[in-house]
Amino acid sequence: MEMKSSAKWIVYVFLFALSLLWIFPVIWVLLSSLKTTPDLYSFPPKFWPEPLTFEHYFNAFEKGNFGVYFLNSAIVTVSSTVLLLLINSMAGFALAKYRFKGDTVLLVGFISTLMIPLEVIMIPIFTVISFLGLYNNLLSIIIPPAATPTGVFLMRQYLLTVPDELLEAARMDGASEWKIYWSIILPIAKPILAVLAIFSFMWRWDDFLWPLIGISDPSLYTIQLALSNFIGEYNVDWGSLLAMSIITMVPVLVVFMMFQRYFVKGMVTSGMKG
């Protein structure tokens, strides 16, 4: 649609103002994290870090154990995502390409549990995790969230479009069902696997509730848990906290840049932050 140039100007001014508002908080945190401690707490605040220092970043790693939390988060995010891709694609494949007793029940069952928010079952989940001996074990935040209904559903919808003839032909050639899944289905499913991988990365990296339920040992804290714990302390070391926040945003930003297209598409089709 074309607009009058005066209208266009108003739109641009509005958008620029709003986007400035949107980008400012992160920039402010970034600039603050590069200030010396006295400057950090000076009032009126200085805008530019002068002198510029990386001391908070070093402190975060040296005194704040940030390396450990970062590593924990990385372990959880990567392994949970790999597990999610594997088991969701397997389930999606079965539900899309086989007819078996209970398939509809399973599918409806999976989807309807989307309605159960984790927040309302966190107490019994804690019991289950303890009962299985997974409490204070990273497995408690790797395994449970990997079986997502969203993932199964997206996989199934995608794999429905794979022609049956392709699978039949492979069976004629004597391929096992596992081989069909591994060497035909998975390569075909690459685009949807990419979308799911991105989602899973974001979900796990940003997650707070699963770690809160499953972990209490500080050496097993994920970044989010560690940050939330620091906030509660009396003498908040804002320098380290801000530095950690900035570092924590980087992986998500990188993933975002790399897969922007998938993101927007994927958001539209599945539309969940979970």
């Binding site: 958008l15 969701n88 494949f93 927040e119 990997a146 079986a147 699978l167 906030i231």
Partner: protein
Amino acid sequence: MATGTATMKPGKRKKKFQLTPYLFVLPNFLIFSIFIIVPTIMGFIYSFNEYDGLNPMEFIGIENYMNVFTNEMFWSALGKTALYAAIVVPLIYCLSLAVAMLLIQEIRLKGFFRAIFYWPTMISFIIVGLTWKWIFGDLGILNYILSLFGADTIPFLSSPFYANLSVIIATVWSRLGFFMVIFMAGLQAIPGDYYEAAHLDGASKLRSFWSITLPLLKPTSFLVIMISLIDAFKSYPLMFALTGGGPGRETTFIVQYIYEVGFMRQELGVASAMSVVLFVIISLFTILQFRLAKGGAV
């Protein structure tokens, strides 16, 4: 995105019993049952028992529910959550729709703007809370800007009113981009001919918006309202990081309260009954969504 019809399944191999599909579903099904289905059932059972997590459960019928219904703190937390939702949902709706409408136009730097608005949705709620805590704090930049204009400083995080306002601002900031994307998809699905026809008939922009955009956007609108409403009822990490639920219990919303009752006071039975009540509320909204959305074929 590829989709297909549900009827496209092979019929040839259904005669003899096949183990294979079950094996493929098994890992997902197991994890899912153990960590979602079983806890759901357990939570329901807990809610009828007195249970502290250590001593054996004791069946007490609906006593926990009676307790919940007469618990003022619970209702106050729920009421605050509802009020927060009542402000946040319309705010997010209007703002994200407005931004989406501007960003589907032929506009320069479209991608840049989209990325900027979308970017905060990728940041965890903990960091969103932290970021805004740094800005709203007593030594924060916002108070400095106010002082530049000669205004008094505002205790953003320690006065009840401003703490709530801060929480709302942070929420809108972090969620706008997400709903903007959903709205953009909905808006792009509206055929351009409609607007052209309206334009030829001499309809104003505002008129087209009321008579074409809004009605045709109904399914998307429901989706946005329901997701943001349910999100609002489950929110907790952001407040936890931004205000710690304070001042006092001013921004302690329902999930945080349930967490405290369950994990800090060890009253698992009562907390479970609260969870059941919350679950019923969320389910009602979800069912309502399905009902209402039927009118406009999602």
